[in-house]
């Protein structure tokens, strides 16, 4: 408990202010702001479509109709919260994202760290990666279908690809951004090369790596939907396109919202994992 001794400048928070702080955080909470923002979005939708039927929004499903279809036990277009098909598509997409994201994370971090750690590896790999990286994911689709067997593997490979490049680049930047003084300190302290890798490079690069993983997660969903639309037989992206084709707009919109929801959850999970692994940074960030 004796947190500060000697010449410490820290000031302990007074216990009397805890109640006040709680009230303040309830009044000024991010959660409320977020809920309010989402509410305003749906209100605008409701007003534009349901109430006023503004021009060009005529084909857009009414908010009330969309929600009713989504929660219906007997949906008109066959997909709602209470149908197995809904969860089949969700699971198909989540499974692909999960596999692709984990593969991109492990391979991307490993390659990025090797590139930052060993000059020769950087020299060998950087040019080719920089050539492959700008090729849009849509341009990879035919090749993925030609090269890989079945339907599932091409979709996973495409979902993987963009995330893979993002993770490599951010890991590399993370290694590069580590202050040289930590390497010097580690050398003086008698660390072996492996100890430097494990205790300096990996934790030092972690902040950038997790920024990369957040972007990579977004890239996964983006690529997933593109791949599912073009070569899938299940999945949320596929369902969006199918419902468009069969003019089932309420289901189309609820499927889009489902994509958004799981995208949000997955990003939040990555963020939470990052915070857990980088507890040392919370003190740093709290000081700002």
């Amino acid at each position: 408990m004796a947190l500060v001794q000697g010449t410490g400048s820290d000031v302990a928070p007074t216990t009397a202010s805890i109640g006040a702080r709680l009230r303040r955080s309830l009044r000024n909470s991010r959660v409320y702001q977020g809920v309010l923002g989402v509410g305003v979005f749906f209100l605008i939708w409701y007003l534009l479509v349901d109430v006023f039927g503004v021009w060009r929004f005529a084909e857009m499903p009414k908010l009330v109709v969309g929600v009713k279809e989504w929660v219906s036990r007997d949906p008109v277009f066959g997909v709602s919260l209470f149908t197995a098909e809904y969860y089949k598509h969700i699971w198909a997409s989540i499974f692909r994202v999960l596999v692709a994201f984990l593969a991109a994370t492990f391979s991307g971090i490993a390659i990025g760290i090797l590139m930052g750690w060993r000059r020769i590896f950087f020299g060998l790999t950087f040019p080719i990666l920089e050539i492959l990286r700008p090729i849009p994911i849509l341009a990879w689709i035919p090749l993925a279908i030609i090269l890989l067997p079945g339907r599932e593997l091409p979709i996973i490979a495409l979902t993987f690809l963009a995330a893979f490049f993002v993770t490599i680049l951010n890991t590399l930047l993370g290694v590069r951004a580590i202050d040289k003084v930590y390497f010097r300190a580690a050398e003086s302290l008698g660390f072996s090369q492996w100890q430097i890798l494990w205790h300096v490079i990996v934790p030092g690069a972690l902040p950038y790596i997790f920024v990369g993983l957040q972007i990579a997660m977004g890239a996964c969903w983006f690529s997933l939907v593109a791949a599912e639309i073009l070569s899938g037989s299940a999945g949320l992206g596929y369902k969006v396109w199918e419902t468009y084709y069969y003019v089932q707009f309420p289901t189309m919109v609820s499927t889009m919202a489902t994509l958004g929801f799981f995208g949000y959850i997955s990003s939040a999970l990555v963020r939470a994992a990052g915070n857990r692994l980088m507890r040392w940074r919370q003190e740093l960030l709290a000081g700002i």
Partner: protein, 275 residues
């Protein structure tokens, strides 16, 4: 009985950055013999090559002329350097505690990674040294949770945990406010009296130099040369009261003139470079 006692011998050390191009002479014919267990402070204006000299001793950088050896072992000469190691521990100007490790991990990692202590011994020794510099109960904190003065003390303890032959300090208290600085200086002296070591300390703060040193070497502005060496015979242990004694003020007057000349030169050189 022990071969590693810590005699540091700097002979005609020279360092030229970019000899083909702009040809910056950072060090020019610097010679300095530092005795075992001597506290030697090098003072000079910013950019005078102090850090270059320290980096050469530490093994981070090579010389382009002359040589540096410790107890007869060559540390640096043109084209050669002994790789950095725990025999020459460095306390860095900007601080180099690993922010992603706890204080205890930082302090004990040296002897543990070198396999010189088991974790029980290391933790015991660390707790003892930390207590000696007035730090209790911070072992599980991350460095970022500490104040500037606490961090510097932890870093000095981390260096001493490795039982270095020579302790190299590169303006370690530069970023501290005056009050914190005086406390941390006293703690450093306490550690020095407790476990005598050869100490090579760099600063541009003259008071700090006199307060800490057995000998103060004044360096000239670029090219860096030794301008003056003064023995500070103020008896140890010293505390902050020394700062106001006549003897201290005599040293300050004597050395102050030499430093001031160099400061002016450095300033004018800076003006010229900017012009």
């Amino acid at each position: 009985m022990m071969s590693k006692i810590g005699e540091l011998s700097i002979r005609h050390a020279g360092k030229i950055y970019d000899p083909e191009g702009i040809h910056v002479v950072a060090l020019d014919d610097v010679s300095l013999e530092i005795e075992a267990h001597e506290f030697c402070v090098v003072v000079g204006p910013s950019g005078c090559g102090k850090t270059t000299l320290l980096n050469a001793i530490a093994g981070f950088d090579q010389l382009t002329d002359g040589e540096i050896s410790m107890d007869g072992v060559l540390l640096a000469s043109p084209g050669k350097k002994l790789l950095p190691g725990p025999d020459r521990m460095v306390v860095f100007q900007q601080g180099a505690l690993f922010p992603w490790k706890s204080v205890m991990w930082n302090v004990t990692c040296g002897p543990l990674k070198q396999g010189r202590m088991n974790s029980v011994e290391a933790v015991e020794k660390a707790a003892e040294l930390l207590a000696r510099v007035g730090l209790h109960g911070i072992e599980d904190q991350y460095p970022e949770a500490l104040s500037g003065g606490q961090k510097r003390r932890v870093e000095i303890v981390r260096a001493l945990m490795n039982d270095p032959t020579v302790l190299l300090l590169d303006e370690p208290f530069r970023a501290l406010d005056a009050l914190t600085k005086s406390v941390v200086q006293e703690h450093l002296l306490e550690l020095f009296d407790f476990t005598p070591k050869t100490v090579f300390f760099i600063t541009h703060d003259l008071e700090e130099a006199i307060f800490l040193a057995d000998r103060v070497a004044v360096m000239t502005t670029r090219p860096g040369r030794i301008k003056k060496i003064v023995e500070v015979d103020i008896p140890r242990p010293r505390n902050y009261r020394v700062l106001t004694t006549d003897r201290f003020l005599e040293f300050k007057a004597d050395l102050g003139e030499a430093i001031h000349e160099e400061a002016i030169q450095a300033f004018e050189a800076g003006e010229r470079e900017l012009a």
